[in-house]
Amino acid sequence: MNSDVATKNNASTKTKSKKKRSQWSEVWRRLKQNKMAMAGLVILTILVLLAVFADVIADYDEVAIKQNAAVRLQGPSKDHWLGTDNLGRDIFARMIHGARISLMVGIVAVSIAILIGGTLGAIAGFYGGKVDNIIMRFMDVFLAIPSILLAIAIVGALGQNLFNLMLAIGVSSIPGFARIVRASVLTVKDQEFVEAARAIGATDTRIIIKHIIPNALAPVIVQGTLGVAGAILSTAGLSFIGLGVPKPRPEWGAMLSDGRQFLRNASHITTFPGLAIVITILALNLLGDGLRDALDPRLKQ
């Protein structure tokens, strides 16, 4: 992406774009060496594939939300790989349809946060002074409110649906991204290439978008990966207390909450969604850590 942008727009030369491309392939090379990170990536790929092809694997109307009292509370078997819940619905089918919600909320929420928080952070970091002060103090106020509480308040006020859920989780993680982007913009903005761009008369917007952001991206990528994990956890948390996606649409946190009553009689209802949450978060964290190592400038040489 960034290398493309560089090729098309950067007036300097082809050599620079080549160098940039090799920089990203360098990152990829380093990431490949990190076995844990690759494990995380593989797990995530599988999850994404399951989520994308959920309808092919198990039909939503006919399997995932179809109640069947005759087979309720059954343990794992040939027909129902992960057993059935208290309404006789197939837990495996519900989990892969639930993965859609979790991944979608995670990614969309983090995108909202990066877009808004990143813009605010970049403006604050680049202009400094009063602008910086106003934006960041505003962010501090946001940070003072626990993010899950803020999300609960937003969903509570706007009503319970998928969009509001994504919005709530996204908005509540804006300040974190604003801070990170601001910090990395601060480290980049005084470097020579920025001064050079300014010297040839580039506008502020151009400098921020074309020069500063691409170079301040590394920590955002890492935080974004970890942020998706956080967002998935928040979604599960909100669903657990009944503020998530409306029933009967399956969601991991809601599945945990529904199965809680049956913990002692049919523990598989809670075990599998619980495991799904754990594995997803673990995978995202492994990948995030791997990316951090791969992107760390100290290792660049």
């Binding site: 939300i65 309720r72 049956f262």
Partner: protein, 512 residues
Amino acid sequence: MLKQRKSFVLLSMLLVITVVLSACGNKTTSGGGSSTKDELVVAQGADPKSLDPHASNDQPSTRINRQIYNTLVVTDNNMEIQPGLAESWDQVDDNTWEFKLREGVKFHNGEEMKASDVVFSFDRMANSAEVAHIIGAVKSVEEKDDYNVVIKTEEPFAPLLAHLAHSASSILSEKAVKDAGDDYQSHPVGTGPFKFVSHDSGDKVTLERFDDYYGDKAKVKTLVFRNVPEGTNRTIGLQTGEIDIAYDVEPIDVKTVEGDKGLKLVKDPSLSSDYVGFNTKKAPYDNVKVRQAINYAINVDEIIEVALEGAGTPATGPINDKVYGYNSNLKGYEYNPEKAKELLKEAGFENGFKTTIWTNDNPVRVTIAEIVQGQLKEIGIDAKVEQVEWGAYLERTGKGEHDMFILGWTTVTGDADYGLYAVYHSSQHGGAGNRTFFTDPKVDELLDKGRTATNEDERLKAYAEAQELILEGAPQAFLQFKTHNAGMQKNVEGFELHPSGSHYLGSVGFSK
């Protein structure tokens, strides 16, 4: 340095584990070795709203108030009226009743209960927003002498005795109420077998045996009502021995309790029924065919099996056979999705419609909502389940903002009047009880007649007909009559379920 820190962590972990384990150990010994046990711990699912019987009409409060207070007459465990604080009574004419009070009954503050306290209590009750409706038919309560009270009604009111047995009709000490002022609910004083000791809000209420009680003294010295909202935790409490009696064992835990060697479970049909109410003011529920169609579309057997683990019987009408005035000829609606589709077609909703089902966060109701949602989908109705917080739930259904909602009704007095008038009479629209806004002049007429008729046969006939019309008018989808239960330690003796759910605990003790 690092090593030191590591060993410190290890040490502190060890410490924590030891403390936890020893705490567990203590608990089991105090629970197990109990030959001289004198404390009965009862767990229920919610904290009482108020121990002032005139400020609450919720079951958690009533269950405790029953132990602290007495009423003029009581309903026994078979719902028969028995003498309470009044040893006898006499209906002088259609509108006048005379009660002779028991002499020498002491309040917990040492005062003797006299006619003036009775008059005071009913005056106070009549001014309470929460419970005044229960004695709405009463015109005046007068003191004839210290031990005789005359109650007059506006017009003949047949179910008067059942209403006087309601826990809201408890007799309070005039002196105690006046002494306590605004803070009466934290100093409740009654004549019951237990007196109030303390209320740790949200946690527990502690009562103590009242040694001057006029009847049989309580078997245990201390009675503790604990608030354990999560049903599973009540069962676990039973198994670990920290709870002696757990009210309302969750359907899923019933088998666990029954299968436990140290525990037993009693269950009985209750006076409660569950229903899915419609907002009959709103389209499409203003069409009786739609309402009937939904009744046919719901498979109640499946709800009973899945949500209640079998703890109920399909409702045959608005009230059940434990209630006086029950019409045993009614059969209820069968499960017949084909007929449901036909009725929808006749009503002009061949392709179904979109709607919402409201429920509060009660896990059984949430499950019922989800099952109903699935069953309605089969006949093309696309319902959305929304969970609404309890306070808002009552308020908003009272205002008529809902489409469909899940609720239950307990006929605590055991008389058809209480079970039908508030829920189906058009004068009771909204928060008073008729949350479906059902209106049928014929039903109104029959319910008024049942209330005022002095001839028992006439009453029964009016109620039988009213139930038929209500079933046909289908202001709600009739679900089930609930079975209620209580789990307890094997050594608990003398416990019996009261159909209203407020069980008497004075005679409960431990076997040696």
